[in-house]
């Protein structure tokens, strides 16, 4: 689905992502883990086009998208969430979802001013989808609240919902679980699995909760200090000495059954 080839990113200093290459296979759920500061979020930013590359290429479905702007990448079916929530703070929750959806007819100024009938149907569909999303994420009680007033966890849910509203082919989830109540998170996992299975939606997720990762992911990619450390099945990775050293530590509080 996505292939990252020799990507380098720098924020002006040394490369924080240095010559990383990997594939995200279509139709699968791939995990991206690694210690704090490894460059995972930066990798997502690079894939989605929010930071310029210092080297390398990124391909989406075989086509080079390196020079495309973020919105052009999104138009090709790439969606991402932000680790620190980036909600539309003055819009209500429902509006946040509607705004995230693609509404090409209604976003054309000419239509808006001179041909108003044209986007009614599109709006209706968008509204339905938004309402369903609210129900799915169990945030009905705040659906007309301004997004800026939501709690930390609610904002994370909003991030996920907006990404889904884009009807993408691939979604990059950046620590969607951090700060989400575990019971709800379990439900979200189920939905992700469902979307993956039924619609063949591709996911790549950054997560620190290994339980959650192992429940969802077929395979994980491990990054450390800006480089690719290894890639493999979750259990394989868990056993790897380098990964244990760089990532797990003693495992004292690991919530294993």
């Amino acid at each position: 689905m996505i292939s990252v080839e020799h990507v380098k990113v720098s924020y002006g200093g040394p490369n924080v992502v240095d010559d990383v290459s990997f594939d995200i296979p279509a139709g699968r759920i791939t995990g991206l883990i690694g210690p704090n500061g490894a460059g995972k979020t930066t990798m997502f930013n690079a894939i989605a086009g929010h930071v310029p590359l210092a080297g390398g290429r990124i391909k989406l479905e075989g086509k080079d998208i390196t020079s495309l702007k973020p919105h052009q990448r999104a138009a090709r079916g790439l969606a991402r969430t932000f680790q620190i929530p980036h909600e539309f703070s003055q819009l209500t929750v429902i509006e946040n979802f509607m705004a995230a959806a693609a509404t090409p007819i209604g976003e054309n100024v000419f239509n808006v001013i001179f041909r108003r009938g044209r986007f009614a149907e599109e709006e209706e569909k968008t509204y339905r989808a938004a309402r369903d999303m609210v129900a799915f994420l169990e945030i009905d009680q705040v659906k007309d609240e301004k997004a800026g007033n939501l709690s930390g966890g609610q904002k994370k849910l909003l991030e996920l919902g907006r990404a889904l509203m884009q009807k993408p082919k691939i979604i990059l989830l950046d620590e969607i679980g951090a700060g989400i109540n575990r019971t709800l998170l379990a439900k979200i996992s189920d939905k992700i699995l469902l979307l993956n299975k039924e619609q063949g939606l591709t996911f790549c997720l950054i997560e620190h909760d290994l339980d959650y990762v192992s429940k969802l992911c077929d395979e994980v990619i491990v990054m450390a200090q800006g480089t690719l450390l290894m890639r493999g099945a979750v259990d394989e990775v868990r056993q790897d000495a380098r990964v244990i050293e760089a990532y797990f530590g003693g495992g004292k509080y690991e919530a294993r059954p």
């Binding site: 138009a75 909600e87 539309f88 003055q90 705004a99 108003r116 800026g148």
Partner: protein, 314 residues
């Protein structure tokens, strides 16, 4: 104070208030919906005023002109020229973040003002353009012409209101507000942020140009003193904030209320005792400043606060 006097005072307040309402609606598109901090309103207003004046006046050796076009063409020219100016400005600096855009637009408006006072081949500089026609100026004279002009101005206000309202309730408007709140995530959701901003800025500037044109035809004479930033940029911002930014009705209400307060304070200060008479104008400014503080503190989100457009609920 006789009744006809009062009536005609009302007419003049409503004409000026209507022109301000157009400006205020334009600013609402840019700021209320798009979050673009345009602090150079006077510049685009001036461009529109001069465009319309030059297009409609008779030949003059003193400045460019002599097109003698009918007034509707003049107003259209005002919108087009101000829109193009806005487009050029937006091309350069619409990517700037809020307050920086404000600084840049103040700067650009100031440069436009200097061009207007200095390039006399184009504008006759500080001496101004006279003989700007009024609509139906040949048919109606005297005070009744004002009533006719009132109708012209408010037709424009209505048209602009309908336009702004359509923009506001549309997906386009929603996307704009989303961009205002968070640019990065709008980008991630596939919105071409720069394109939306550019459209917003241009639409706003074109409407400001229209207001400029309306005022040129009202004064029938155009000089740099018609585009004083204090009375254009500053006052319009006050009107929008007082009326309720993000709300088109609020924009109109703000324009009328603030203009009326601005104008009517003088009626009271000119009734001060004779010892104060030479100072009454300063007392009036003081009063305006204080009233403004009162409005800001008491009507926090404006007279008509921003509401999300109604989404059908079922």
């Amino acid at each position: 104070m006789e009744m006809t006097g009062l009536l005609f005072y009302l007419v003049s307040v409503l004409i000026a208030g209507g022109i301000y309402a157009v400006l205020c609606l334009a600013l609402n598109v840019q700021w209320g919906m798009g979050g673009l901090f345009n602090a150079g309103i006077a510049g685009f207003f001036a461009v529109g005023a001069y465009a319309s004046a030059i297009a409609t006046t008779a030949v003059s050796a003193k400045h460019l002109g002599g097109f003698g076009l009918p007034i509707p063409f003049g107003l259209a020219a005002a919108m087009v020229v101000a829109g193009i100016t806005g487009w050029a400005v937006a091309k350069i600096c619409v990517g700037l973040k809020s307050d920086y855009l404000a600084m840049a637009s103040v700067g650009i408006a100031e440069i436009l003002r200097l061009v207007i006072v200095n390039e006399s081949w184009l504008t006759n500089g500080s001496l101004g353009i006279s003989g700007v026609p009024r609509p139906f100026g040949d048919l109606v004279h005297g005070r009744s012409a004002d009533i006719l002009y009132l109708a012209v101005v408010w037709t424009c206000v209505l048209g602009v209101y309908v336009l702004c309202q359509r923009l506001y309730v549309s997906p386009w408007g929603r996307t704009l507000r989303a961009i205002r709140d968070n640019e990065d995530s709008a980008r991630a959701a596939g919105k071409d942020v720069d394109k939306f901003r550019l459209q917003t800025f241009v639409i706003g500037c074109a409407i400001m140009g229209l207001a400029g044109g309306l005022s040129a035809h009202y004064f029938k004479f155009l000089s740099p003193s018609a585009t004083e930033p204090l009375l254009v940029t500053f006052l319009v911002w006050v009107m929008l904030m007082a009326g309720g930014s993000g709300n088109n009705k609020g924009a109109i209400a703000g324009a009328l209320v603030i203009w009326f307060l601005w104008s009517a304070t003088e009626i009271f200060t000119s009734r001060l005792p004779p010892e104060w008479i030479t100072r009454s104008s300063y007392i009036r400014m003081l009063l305006v400043g204080l009233i403004l503080q009162f409005v800001l503190q008491k009507f926090r989100s404006g007279l008509v606060p921003e509401k999300s457009p109604k989404i059908r609920s079922d």
